[in-house]
């Protein structure tokens, strides 16, 4: 038994109770001015020293701008600017009809300042921009001139960082408890950063009322909480979006086909289809009844929840929804495998599914919007049928597509293609660009990406590499993207990257990336914006070395390598999943996190990433000494430090196992190698200590919003240190003795318990009813391995079998 897996050495349980960072999100982030108020006034400026006298004349019957005005007033106080006297600041409705939606203008003249827009949310944006203009000042003098901002990106949709995912294993529905996931200060911060939408999860069966089936008894409770959330967020100009995968597939248990309407059942999922039984069937939109059902669902929801912003529904790619779900993206025929063999093509199916949903919604709330997200994350090329999907959609529906899925880049001389999301790769994928082309002049178009962080590293609040966002948004604008879904469950903590996204929504991209980064840095790092922009460029360069391999994202050591043990002895245990609350210690089979990279390549890339990041971080921490009292700067310094440790640790983990492999291969310089490995153990003990200090001061670190737990935290870090100190270093002592006595490393470190070659019996898991016991004959010939089983027929009909086999080469 490997001692690390002994019951007495297992990691401590995940922290319970309210998540520590919620306290931080409830707090106001205090602004600290960095002005020299004794500086001489320069020509072409107005002075703020005598104060600012705000006059608000914009019609705001619903008082939704009260929050922004209150933020402005508080900002004046913190910025040491007298308010209610001095230079006039008029906030008014514009007479310039060119300003649409959130567009605004700020005009600074000698006799006063004007903030204008034609719409309420434009005024909100102008107020926050005005605050930034003052924040970036190094003297109390504001430049005379006009600044007009026009939004090319309408909806900028994020999500609550700690909103429950309504999925296993915790299955928490945020509409069914009394927890406030949207504290005022959190919303204020998001609004200032430019976020104007948040999505939360619903299902039609939980909340909607139709003439087709009885309503869920908890629907009223859910609706009440949803109304409350919608109203609260709207005070900050933030719309609530109902995220769903609707119409959901029918399931005999939990979501049966409505009685009397078998026509609403479509073909089953792959497995069910293969079996011919199909406990789960997709939604068939072909009938009037089906479309009426969809209409009633959304019409009810939007009638019951005034102000609900819209629907964000995955229409293909995740879970089963309409019959389109039974069509894989690789299907060359592009035909849904349905026995009904109707005459609808894929564009008919999606338009007849989304159309009634959109109509039901708009009949109740004409301002609500529908975004249909095609989640097609695989790195491989997709069949042409997917590009037909926009053909029959209308302008009041938008398609959202993954920005990076299928994108490619060269790493160490090899071309790699990534699936899902990649912050480290600017993108877009060819597939995204082609979908943008297909959607043009037919329907709206949205990009789905990860603004703050992605599966690459989801245990830090954000990756401070805004230059990557600049490149992405520049391409988005060029491709005609109108909306952005900024995150999945993670990738949404307030801060630098959200701010960058908000600013990019009005960027014309006529300047350079460095110009943008300098402007982005100005409000938080006044006087040091150029240096900070250079640091961010270094971080961007560093992060671009992240191994572009989806397995590495999901299972790799970047997220929580800081609590991985280091196995000198073979454990032959699996890596834990980054996005799940896996509690067991992580194993040593690094191969699980590399599908397209070799261990050597991943190791080299991690070392490059770590080295460059450390270089940038050193510069950042030096600049940061002047900003120790500034909350947002302190947050950024902490994140950069944490990532510095994460990358160093990930590189160390790879180095450690590469060294171990050399020992297994019988390296003669084993003493030298053991010394190097032991040095890594000591470095990792030190890194663990450093991360512990950071975690004590920064409760954001370590939390993974999809796993819904802290992946690393003080107690677990302490546990790791103890494992390294008390078990791993012990193993090194034992190993040196063994090797000195002539025992080979392989004999010392191999794990014979997991190396048995047996012809075994079948194991039947808990779901099995039978008691079969079959031997497994395996024949190894000169050319092949043949595995044969014989199973007695216990049914008159042919039994479909599905096999999955996994051999891997060794030695």
């Amino acid at each position: 038994m490997n001692r690390i897996y002994a019951a007495e050495n297992l990691p401590p349980p995940f922290p319970q109770g309210e998540l520590a960072f919620i306290k931080e999100l409830k707090k106001h982030v205090v602004f600290t001015p960095h002005r020299d108020d004794n500086a001489a006034q320069t020509p072409g400026t107005v002075s703020l020293l005598n104060g600012l006298n705000v006059s608000f004349t914009f019609p705001d019957e619903e008082k939704r701008l009260e929050t922004a005005l209150s933020d402005l007033e508080r900002f004046f106080q913190e910025a040491n600017i007298p308010s209610g006297k001095g230079l006039s600041v008029v906030i008014r409705k514009s007479d310039d009809t060119e300003l649409k939606g959130e567009d605004f203008r700020i005009t600074v003249k000698e006799d006063g300042i004007t903030l204008e827009s034609n719409e309420r949310e434009g005024i909100r944006r102008s107020i926050y921009r005005f605050m930034d203009r003052i924040a970036e000042l190094c003297t109390p003098y504001l430049a005379i001139g006009a600044e007009t901002k026009k939004y090319w990106l309408k909806n900028r949709i994020s999500r609550c960082f700690f909103g429950p995912i309504k999925r296993p294993p915790f299955n928490i529905d945020e509409l069914m408890n009394d927890i406030d996931y949207y504290p005022e200060e959190y919303l204020s911060r998001l609004a200032r950063e430019g976020v104007n939408g948040l999505w939360l999860t619903i299902t039609f069966k939980d909340i909607c009322k139709t003439s087709f089936r009885p309503q869920n008894p908890d629907a009223a409770r859910r609706l009440a909480k949803l109304r409350q959330t919608v109203a609260k967020c709207l005070r900050y100009g933030i719309k609530t979006w109902a995220f769903c995968i609707e119409p959901a597939s029918w399931k005999s248990k939990g979501n049966p086909i409505p009685e009397g309407h078998p026509e609403m059942g479509g073909p089953g999922t792959t497995y069910a289809l293969q079996s011919g039984y199909g406990e789960e069937s997709s939604f068939c939109p072909k009938s009037e009844a089906a479309r009426q059902y969809l209409y009633e669902c959304t019409n009810y929801l939007f009638s019951e929840v005034p102000g609900l912003g819209g629907i964000l529904s995955i229409s293909h790619g995740e879970r089963t929804t309409s019959c389109l779900s039974t069509l894989p993206t690789s299907s060359l025929s592009g035909k849904v495998p349905c026995k009904k063999e109707c005459d609808w093509d894929v564009d008919d199916i999606i338009s007849n599914t989304l159309g009634p949903m959109c109509k039901g919604m708009r009949d109740a709330n004409p301002d609500a919007e529908l975004i249909s997200w095609l989640y097609q994350p695989a790195p491989v090329q997709h069949a042409p049928w997917i590009f037909k999907l926009p053909n029959k959609l209308t302008r009041d529906i938008s398609l959202a597509y993954n920005f990076e899925s299928g994108c490619s880049k060269m790493q160490l001389g090899k071309l790699h293609t990534g699936g899902d999301y990649w912050l480290s790769c600017a993108g877009p994928s060819d597939r995204f660009a082609r979908m943008a082309e297909s959607a043009r002049n037919k329907c709206g178009f949205a990009a789905k990406l990860q603004v703050a962080c992605s599966h690459e590293d989801a245990t830090i609040p954000y990756v401070p590499a805004p230059g990557l966002l600049y490149e992405k948004y520049k391409a988005m604008k060029a491709l005609g993207v109108e909306h952005v879904i900024m995150c999945w469950y993670f990738g949404n903590y307030p801060g630098l990257m959200n701010r960058a996204s908000g600013m990019l929504a009005t960027e014309d991209f006529k300047g350079t990336e460095m110009d943008f980064l300098t402007r982005l840095a100005a409000p938080e790092w006044p006087g040091k914006e150029k240096e900070i922009a250079e640091v961010w460029k270094l971080f961007e360069e560093a992060y671009s070395n992240y191994p572009m391999d989806n397995q590495f994202q999901y299972y790799g050591p970047v997220h929580d390598g800081i609590v991985w043990p280091l196995h000198l002895k073979r454990a032959r245990k699996q890596l834990t999943r980054s996005w799940k609350p896996d509690a067991m210690p992580t194993g040593d089979t690094l191969g699980e996190c590399m599908k397209t990279h070799t261990a050597g390549e991943a190791s080299l890339l991690l070392q490059k990433m770590s080295k460059l990041w450390a270089e940038g971080n050193k510069k950042l921490q030096a600049i940061g000494k002047e900003f120790q009292n500034d909350s947002t700067c302190k947050e950024e310094l902490s994140v950069a430090n944490a990532m510095d440790i994460q990358f160093a640790t990930a590189a160390n983990i790879f180095k450690f196992y590469m060294y171990r492999q050399q020992l297994f291969e019988g390296a003669e310089n084993y003493e030298e190698i053991l010394d190097a490995m032991e040095k890594i153990v000591y470095e990792e003990m030190e890194n663990t200590d450093k991360m512990t200090v950071l975690c004590k001061n920064d409760s954001r670190l370590g939390y993974h919003s999809e796993a819904e737990v802290y992946k690393f935290y003080e107690e677990k870090l302490q546990w790791r240190k103890n494992i390294l100190k008390n078990i791993v270093l012990d193993d090194f002592r034992e190993c040196r003795k063994a090797l000195a006595s002539g025992i080979s490393f392989r004999d010392f470190a191999e794990n014979p318990d997991t190396e048995k070659c047996v012809l075994s019996q079948w194991y039947e898991n808990a779901s099995s009813n039978g008691k079969q016991k079959r031997m497994m004959p395996i024949y190894i010939s000169k050319s092949s391995v043949r595995i044969t089983t014989i199973l007695k027929m216990n049914s008159p009909r042919s039994m479909p079998w599905m096999w999955k086999a996994s051999p891997s080469p060794i030695l």
Binding site: E592, W801, M802, A805
Partner: protein
């Protein structure tokens, strides 16, 4: 997973047989066949050795799903208790639960 733990464990086959005497090319390199034999089903999964590029040993696991009228029956080889929570791209194949085959 390989003994050294440094190579990605690849699925060599998703075999599916619905009809008697059906032969399926599973991943382009492996063959799955099924035939009726004295009131039983005999199924054979053939993996060419050339796939392993001259390696002397492989670690191996197999999972079988039968679709019965009462529902699905999942069985796995080798015997042992496996995690039921399937891991993305790695299925149920846990590195310490595979068998070693010397080729």
């Amino acid at each position: 997973m390989d003994v050294e733990g440094l190579t990605f464990p690849y699925l060599v086959g998703n075999g599916l047989a619905r009809k008697t005497n059906e032969i399926a090319d599973t991943t382009g390199v492996c063959i799955f066949s099924k035939e009726e034999l004295a009131g039983a089903w005999k199924s054979t999964f053939t993996v060419p050795l050339s796939l392993f590029q001259g390696k002397k040993q492989i670690l191996f696991g197999l999972e079988r799903i039968e679709y019965l009228e009462k529902g699905e029956r999942w069985t796995s080889y080798p015997a042992g208790k496996f995690e039921n929570d399937v891991r993305l791209n790695l299925s149920y194949f846990l590195p310490d639960k595979l068998v070693l085959l010397t080729l």
